[in-house]
Amino acid sequence: MNSAGMYRTPDGRNTLLRFARSIWQGYRRISQSPGAAVSLILLAILVTIAILAPYVTPYDPYATYVGPRLAPPSRAFLFGTDLLGRDLLSRIIYGSRLSLVVGVLSALVSLIFGVLLGTISGYFGGLIDSLLMKIVDVWLGFPPLIFALAIVTILGKGVNNVVLAVGISGIPRLARVVRAQALSVREVPFIEAARAIGASPWRIMLVHLVPNVIPTVIILSTLQIASAIISASSLSFLGMGAQPPTAEWGLMLQEGRAYMRHAWWMTVFPGMALFLTVMAVNLLGDRLRELLDPRFSRRRQ
């Protein structure tokens, strides 16, 4: 990607300033794009509900027998109750806290290490690059679910380890893309200029390279959040993530699986929450891509 405007200024601070400005412009354009507006509103509602969970839930999500067991949706229990008579709506609302936090944190893990690996590999090139990329290739070849599963079994079950496991399995994808970006930026004159005046490699990477890969990284990490939310709940679904009685969407689906014949609400509603959340995040990622990635701006005259 060679949008000329992006790295015209040799001075790092200006690059950051320009970047901040482009974010602001992006925000203004986002607010005009209907798809993005919808996704932002959806996400805002979701986050608000997640934060205000204790105040908006009708019941305690962990209190058993607040109603009859396996009660179908009714006015008292909008989404019905589960096997232990817990209110599903309250549990789904609390589940949003977990999924959002896990999604963001594990995307952050992939992001930090992915950018680090990718930048080093792309900037230094040569032996370091081919070695690192060989590792990344093998890493990509590992089935991601099995990889995350192995990490969780090594570290032990539980949400914290799920964050690490999902985060680590997301690293190679980001590293790949960031490296490609860094490679293309590396050849730009201002990098050469910085090298010529004696800037250290770390300084060049941090001040000159990283800001230029940020747009790509923002898009990727948004999409990474979406897939991290799915992976995390997949692990819980397989019994390796959140443990009962935690209110977690994947776990709730697992609990509902045995009662599909008798209590469809136990699978339909938690899954719907998961699906809509992921969709909102993906929608945001798509719009960001259209705004920030010049390759995706329409090329027709």
Partner: protein, 307 residues
Amino acid sequence: MLKYTFRRILGSLPVFFIVLTLAFAVIRLVPGDPVRNIVGGQPVSSQVMENLRKYFDLDKPAIVQYFNFIRKAVVGDFGVSYRSRQPVTRVFFEQLPATLQLAAGGILVSILIGGTLGILAGLFPDTWLDTILMFIALMGVSMPTFYSGMLLILIFCVTLKLLPVIGGSGLIGVILPSISSGLWSAGNLARLIRSAILEVMSEDYIRTARAKGLRERAVVLRHAARNALIPVVTLMGLHLALFFGGAAITETVFARQGVGRLLVDSVLEKDYPMVQFGILFTTSAYVVINLFVDLLYGMIDPRIRYE
């Protein structure tokens, strides 16, 4: 091209070696004693434990185990499964057909649905049709496999009672799992095809083709399709590899047998030899598929040459 293929295979040998080493190391990091799992938590004398340890080559230091493992792996001996006491290769290849079936079904669903959505959206960009199709694709991308699987079961097995819930063998049994696992791939494919078509259609050679008076059909089929195919083939290769190793969720939801489920269970039960071989196999599948994809590039686009 033969020379290129040969060189690529040689070049991936170190990858296999790294994978073997990693698989060996990672599974041994899982805490707990595999021999405890082998006896299934039953109280046994320490003599029995010792014998088992010896039988499975677990009594030696890790480094010796490692060299023994590599030495045998080179000649195709991957050891005996701790759980079933059968050669891991036999156990694995018994489960493989079910997974291959699912992978084929998933790819088929992906190409049928994703291809249709993507091509239509790409040929009529910025129309209401495009908007609707891309929204459907977004839904596919955002749908967790286990949720789509359970919804399908709810709709077709519980409510409509069209299909048996569990274990329907043969073609019937593979329909719903294929749809469930293919939806995500279809969504991704549709999005990719659309953007590939948009990109290709704005190229100069398309304008040239139109300028020389070719019919739109010929422009699309002969000039656009071929060029749009490259990223599509790349994505399909990647997804095929994912179907091999990532089928565990679908197999769990539909209570199917298969490699994914086998691998998950083996990790959980610390069946070292099984995990090692499973990871080697899925990674090899990834490498081989990638090689095929690269060779396909040359057939699609004669400008690509292999030296």
